[in-house]
Symmetry: C2
Subunit: 412 residues, 2 copies
């Protein structure tokens, strides 16, 4: 077996994520490593904390990275909050709501779900009714669920949770940086994300922010692991007050002691991913988070109008669509396997990836993203131009230039 250096084919990733990373983020990962407690390392960790406070729009001291994919961030949040037997309420409006319920269940929670049909979001009253009925310890909610493209309005949910003394966890993986997100103003206790969507980086690092009251609750479950208790200053935090968190790797009390001034050894920070996360946030903060959100709205609108300009239908309640992804109805004329054939032609002939779908939408819609580095005019127009060609080649009648023209009107 003889292998060469990695040489990926050029791809324009216009699916629901991961998307093409900003070259500057990729380049940051090639920077040399430093030691785990090098002054440069701890300074960089502190910078990252500051940058993600801006990204999450929060004053939360405890804002850092979980070393894993966005799913690792979700699990770290839930396993650190939830003790076995706790009630967790999950409003499910797509696949990733099911995932939150699944993970909460593995943490031993008594999980309650409410559901709306795919393509819709919840009215705040529906969530409040469920909170009254279930009286959960934690409400766990996705903001943007790429499986349906819906974006759950959250502005009123935090107040509901505070009134009923419920902790609010939000999975902002697919939405953060491309849709408005206000951790503090909306009263969110823990939010987590990933780099591979609107942040324009690779998967593998999960930014997280934790409110003071959630920090207090997690801190009450703090244990210092054997082998570290001898370190000066380590022993006094080993008073086991709450039930030990069922994961070592995802024990946010320990991870906070690692990111905080104590610098208690936990995992070995994934330095290259730290650099990537720093660069993703640095670019976003330099652009301005609100400006980036507006950029996603603009290019998302261009893609939406563009696919409609090709005569294609759009799935779901478009008024509540995330700005960064659209679910495009696969024309019936394409037949059962036609959706995948179109995706294959786009990839093979144009190097452009668009997404397939899960569950009830499988085979019914494509998901086209405009996010992060790829929330750009040339990416949108190129995708629409290629899609027009491929649809025509597969026998779908499409108006010549209709997609690009409709998008150009948005840009005019």
């Amino acid at each position: 077996m003889s292998h060469q250096e990695i040489a990926p084919p050029p791809r324009l990733l216009m699916g629901p994520g991961p998307i093409s990373a900003d070259p500057r983020v990729l380049r940051a990962m090639a920077a040399p490593l430093v030691g785990q407690f090098d002054p440069f390392m701890t300074t960089t960790m502190n910078e990252v904390m500051g940058l993600y406070r801006t990204v999450f729009d929060t004053a939360n001291e405890q804002t850092f990275l979980v070393d894993g994919t966005s799913r690792a961030g979700i699990e770290a949040a839930l396993v650190s909050l939830v003790e076995p037997g706790d009630r967790v309420l999950v409003p499910v409006f797509g696949r990733f709501g099911h995932l939150l319920a699944e993970i909460a269940g593995r943490c031993g929670a008594e999980v309650h779900t409410i559901e709306v049909p795919w393509g819709q979001v919840f009215a705040p009253e529906a969530i409040e009714d469920a909170v009254r009925a279930v009286r959960p310890k934690v409400l766990a909610c996705v903001q943007g669920d790429t499986s349906t493209t819906m974006c759950q309005p959250l502005a009123e949910i935090g107040a509901i949770c505070r009134e009923h003394d419920v902790l609010l966890y939000c999975d902002a993986t697919a939405s953060l940086g491309g849709n408005e997100f206000r951790t503090d103003a909306w009263g969110i206790d823990i939010a987590t994300a990933g780099l591979q969507k609107c942040l324009g980086g690779p998967s593998g690092s999960a930014p997280i922010t934790i409110s003071p009251r959630a920090v207090e609750m997690i801190g009450a479950r703090r244990h210092v692991e054997a082998g570290l208790r001898e370190i000066p200053g380590g022993e006094d935090v080993d008073a086991a007050r709450g039930r030990v968190i069922a994961s070592n790797y995802f024990d946010l009390a320990m991870v906070m002691d690692y990111w905080g001034p104590r610098r208690l050894n936990h995992h070995t920070e994934a330095t290259s991913m730290l650099y990537a996360a720093r660069e993703s946030a640095r670019l976003l903060v330099t652009e301005g988070v609100d400006t980036a959100v507006a950029r996603h709205e603009r290019h998302g609108r261009a893609m939406l109008d563009g696919v409609r300009g090709l005569g294609l239908g759009v799935f779901g309640d478009v008024a509540h669509k995330m700005s960064n992804v659209v679910a495009v109805e696969i024309p019936e004329a394409l037949g059962a396997a036609g959706g995948d054939a179109v995706r294959g032609s786009l990839l093979d002939d144009f190097g452009i990836e668009i997404g397939t779908s899960f569950g009830p939408l499988h085979g019914k819609v494509w998901r086209i993203g405009t996010m992060g580095f790829n929330a750009r005019k040339d990416a949108v127009l190129t995708t629409l131009a290629a899609l027009e060609q491929v649809l025509r080649a597969h026998g779908v009648a499409v108006p010549p230039g209709g997609g690009v023209a409709a998008a150009q009107e948005v840009y005019a």
Copy 2:
């Protein structure tokens, strides 16, 4: 807050890891991303599986990456093997043995430990006696524990485990690639590692290999998560036979379905870390694993003789030392804070990092590594030359040129 592009200071990382990554591994991470199910992606995942079979010296089909640091690999192995109430036996000969016990405990195991003083390893008979007494489901053992620099001989442990129907898990994080490791010949059921030691990469990806009998046991606990059951072919594996694994992220049954031909969606693979893991293994396999082990032995010997040539003592049972790290006794003449002062001067004046120590060795030894990309003659000689200068500047009488000369004899 205005930040610039990341610009780490130049460092020669000669501690117990993380160490300076091979520039080729860093460069691989700058390669562009492809989609999660792109043919290039799945081909690359398969290549990585093949490469790590060579690294682990195994025929195990189930050889892949856990997306997280080496600690994530440990937890994935243990949480997937251990059901609450299972007995786990851990031979502890340093800090990372305590970590295995800690993680097993969080999985709900009834944890039993045996211990030897730091600086020693176990005789196989001592482990067999404990296996007879405890009758564990799993024996969890570190191969190389950087906290003491000891390398536990494993060749006879696998046979003991088979005889007593015990699963053998081995944490090879610090040793793999720099010390002999034979997954199949030694009868190891699961081994995990990281990139940041002898593999010459960054922290953040955990290679793992799983024997067929461990695969069978984990497979018996397979569950398909809600939201995926509708996918054709997904439903038939949802027969809950064993107790559900207490983690979603670390559920190796699901991770195997993602890496395997089913390609069932789980996490979004951390593509850049996949590229890094591929390049780390590619370089190692191209060099030849046995050749790399011999290289670590040679440069480790040069560093060992070199520090002795400076008149410094070495901690522990040197006959059982890992080849890639040495624990150097801090001269008493330096006083209580002198160890850290020497480390500070090495870092500030020479850009060289050596390691401090944990627990009972804290303040007593430095740990100096020669591993991965830094298992090189120039790195060894530069470190010895700088250490001589710094020791002298701190008032320690050292033979001029004694360290470098002793190392050069090894190279002669």
